[in-house]
Amino acid sequence: MAEERPVESNAYADLVARSWNKALPMTALWEITYACNHKCAFCYNCPERGRREMTKEQIISGLSKIADLGCVFLVMTGGEPLTRPDFFDIAWAGKRLGFALRVYTNGYLVDEIVARKFKELMPFEIEISFHGSRPETMDKLTGVPGSYGRVLQGIRNLRKYDLKVNMKVPITNWNQSEIRDIKALADSLGCHATFDPVITPRDDGDTSPLALQADRDFLAKLWSPEYADLTHEEVPLPRNDTHVEANCGTGRSTIALDPYGNIYPCVQWRRSAGNINDVADLRSLWKESPVLNEVRRIAMEIPKTTLKTCESGEFCSFCPGVAEVQTGDPRNIYPQVRMTSEIRKQRHSEFLEIQSRTPA
């Protein structure tokens, strides 16, 4: 996700909290293509067969509307965004419109020339999906033989120019035993690494990717002190809703678009609020769209309803978009969030118990 839940008080966290509370749009995430050179087993994208994706000119025109709306971050993702031959034309247009760029790529096409182009472009961050410390694990998850070596070289090419690379690792039951080695690899490359145990259904509701979720025993270990250096949490803590009223920034701090120009409140919640090609005034749509106002209302209700009635609700990292696609209702607890919140709550209780037995 583009912004972390603002739980501390500093100028940036305060701004993010205000953007959630007052619907100040900060981040636009645009899937500029669904074309991809990987075939990841857990991918959530659902391209519409035969439907034409937006042209460069249409995207640039859309970017100008998003700049006028006030977003400062532009996340360029896909699919694999670098499969578009006009990727750098679009990125530079975004830069000229005053966006700070984040690029989510699989890194497969980042050769020396592409890395040099990135150096000139100077995005704020490049996030590269990485799936294993062993070539066979990564190649199996991407469905592309040789992807491990190509992606690793892509990362090295970017690091040569001192570009900030975040290796983003979705944890699955295929790579869960390798995450410590992936962290060591990231350290050796001078990269950040983030580990995400959340696997989501496909955008059309197909839940087959969930079969790849990390198993319960592993997740119990992940949220123990053993992995604190990877999760940055000594102990799972309950949600801190001091600074924010809404469950998340959906339709408040973020807006998302697909390659056809459909506008969504975020990348997970696929309720279309319109099409960027047809919208003359995005500011009016942002304020008046019934879809956006509805998701904002629901996101505001969730901490007071769904999470209050769930036994481990205070430990839920709840996504209404996933809830809707998986259960048909954005307010319903879904199995993955139930499992992860139960584990986190249990770990928290164990920690408190140990602490209470430890002499002061």
């Binding site: 900060m26 400062v72 971050f73 005053g98």
Partner: protein
């Protein structure tokens, strides 16, 4: 620090910024940093266009904030020097 900026100041080409509720939020990708300016800083940031000199900006600030030109020039020059030191102006240290 007065007089540190020669010629009309210009924003660093990598700096990305937007104004939220009267405060400029500035992203500096080359340093992986964010900066947030207060209302007066935001007004000065807004006036930095590669054409206005420090004196031009001070004249506008003096008028809008009811201070003398000399006071405004001192503060504007100091603020521009801070922006430059933080890599937010085009003449800043190379990334």
């Amino acid at each position: 620090m007065m007089g540190a900026i020669q010629g009309p100041p210009k924003k660093h080409p990598h700096a990305a910024s937007r104004v939220y509720e009267g405060e400029a939020f500035i992203v500096l990708p080359q340093y992986h940093e964010y900066k947030i300016l207060n209302a007066v800083g935001t007004r000065i940031w807004d006036l930095i266009d590669g054409v206005n000199t420090a004196g031009d900006i001070a004249r506008i600030v003096a008028e809008e904030y009811d201070v003398t030109y000399e006071e405004a020039l001192k503060d504007v020059s100091s603020f521009l020097a801070d922006l430059e030191a933080n890599g937010m102006l085009a003449s800043a240290k190379p990334s």
